[in-house]
Symmetry: C2
Subunit: 222 residues, 2 copies
DNA sequence: TACGGTATTGAGCAATTGCTCAAACTATTC
DNA sequence: GAATAGTTTGAGCAATTGCTCAATACCGTA
């Protein structure tokens, strides 16, 4: 939660007091609940129990369960976005960037942050109107993607695609130990994409060749 | 008013009279409900309304809502699997097979069958134990994959991967008009896979070259 | 027509949900 | 200590859920 900057306006200041701790605890409880029992199971009482407080506080501080879940999404999304942005800034090559993104994503997986994104994206389907709100909350990722594209060379927003593709893969492959889909490891997905788009392999390979001069030598761009 | 007839259509008002008809109507209602209001919204009353019968019939015929949803999954899965299997039998080449699979998948998308699979896979997460049952119901796909692998040449279960990859893509990209992810069209996903796995491109290309003697017939943009 | 089993219905129960509310607690300032 | 504002609590309401059940409509058969 890097809140750097001398003066940063824009964040709506809420009443400061003991309530800040409660808010934080509720958000942490929401993140934990989303990971453990999913979107459908994340009721006000479930979250409040994990936060160690009364369920009425959910409505006192956030107005509704949905708003609390969106706040949790914001929290996780901002944390992830900040990490990827920093990796983008510090990367000296695409290979470098890819490696950083993969490390960050792995950490996010362990911490359950990926689960929060997946649950909010998928769970929003069951609540009319929530999908648009989730999309709005994730809008900063698109801005990030544009920056990443400009910093990259090929027009492929690789820095964005890494987390989103992994997310897409995780959504299906990670579900409930579903053997069929879980058996599709990354290599097979890549192989599929190749076979599925065999007609475009040559063109893409040209691009890949430009971006990756050799397998282990890092082509430097910036 | 509605006459009984085994005509699969979108009209949800079906008069029930006999047991078999009621069962079929309930399954159709479940398929429609899963597509329209998702897993969480597919309650017994919601499904029964779409089937034009009383909600108690859900429990009379299927024992529980979950069993009805699983029956709907079976129905859709069997239909899809049969279509893909026939395409696999009749295909004279992998390119041929790929084209057939794509056509079938497109039809499944329009008919809402893909939505049923997605909803059952994703929604099962919120019900403890349901994930394993969904996995068990989808087990025939793995057997199909093995047959497909044997009939193919490269060891890549392309006929299976086509629907599952499209499914994975659709799960994320199709969600609620989520602009960020929806902008990831197939070409970009393929491009990502290439960039992400640049080190394996050469090996995979060799396999592709063996599998696709003449690949330009797909008419895709080059 | 009467009978017996099947299919269907509406009412209703227990549990859970999001959410409200009045009372009670806490911390700060007089 | 008292007043005030902010925070927390437990009870409770209306709606919805999965599911049960007794009553009844339906249908083939005797």
């Amino acid at each position: 939660m890097a809140k750097s900057g001398p003066r940063r306006a824009g964040a709506p200041d809420i009443k400061v007091g003991r309530s800040a701790d409660t808010r934080a605890a509720l958000i942490r409880g929401a993140v934990a609940a989303l990971g453990d029992v999913g979107f459908a199971g994340s009721s006000a009482r479930e979250i409040a129990d994990r936060a160690g407080c009364n369920q009425a506080l959910v409505f006192y501080h956030f107005g509704s369960v949905t708003e609390l879940l969106l706040a949790a999404l914001d929290d996780v999304s901002a944390r992830r976005l900040a990490a990827y942005s920093q990796a983008l800034d510090e990367a000296s090559s695409l290979t470098d960037l890819l490696e950083s993104a993969r490390t960050i994503f792995s950490e996010d997986l362990d911490s359950g942050h990926v689960a929060v994104l997946v649950e909010m994206i998928t769970g929003a389907q069951s609540t009319p109107g929530l999908g648009e709100q989730v999309a709005a909350r994730l809008a900063p990722w698109r801005d990030f993607a544009e920056v990443a594209v400009r910093k990259a060379v090929t027009g492929s927003p690789i820095a964005l695609l890494v987390p989103t593709r992994e997310l897409a893969h995780g959504v299906v492959a990670g579900f409930l130990g579903l053997e069929l889909l879980a058996s599709l490891d990354g290599d097979r997905v890549a192989a599929l994409a190749l076979f599925d788009r065999a007609g475009q392999v040559a063109r893409l390979l040209d691009m890949a060749g430009a971006a990756f001069p050799a397998e282990d030598s890092t082509g430097d761009q910036t």
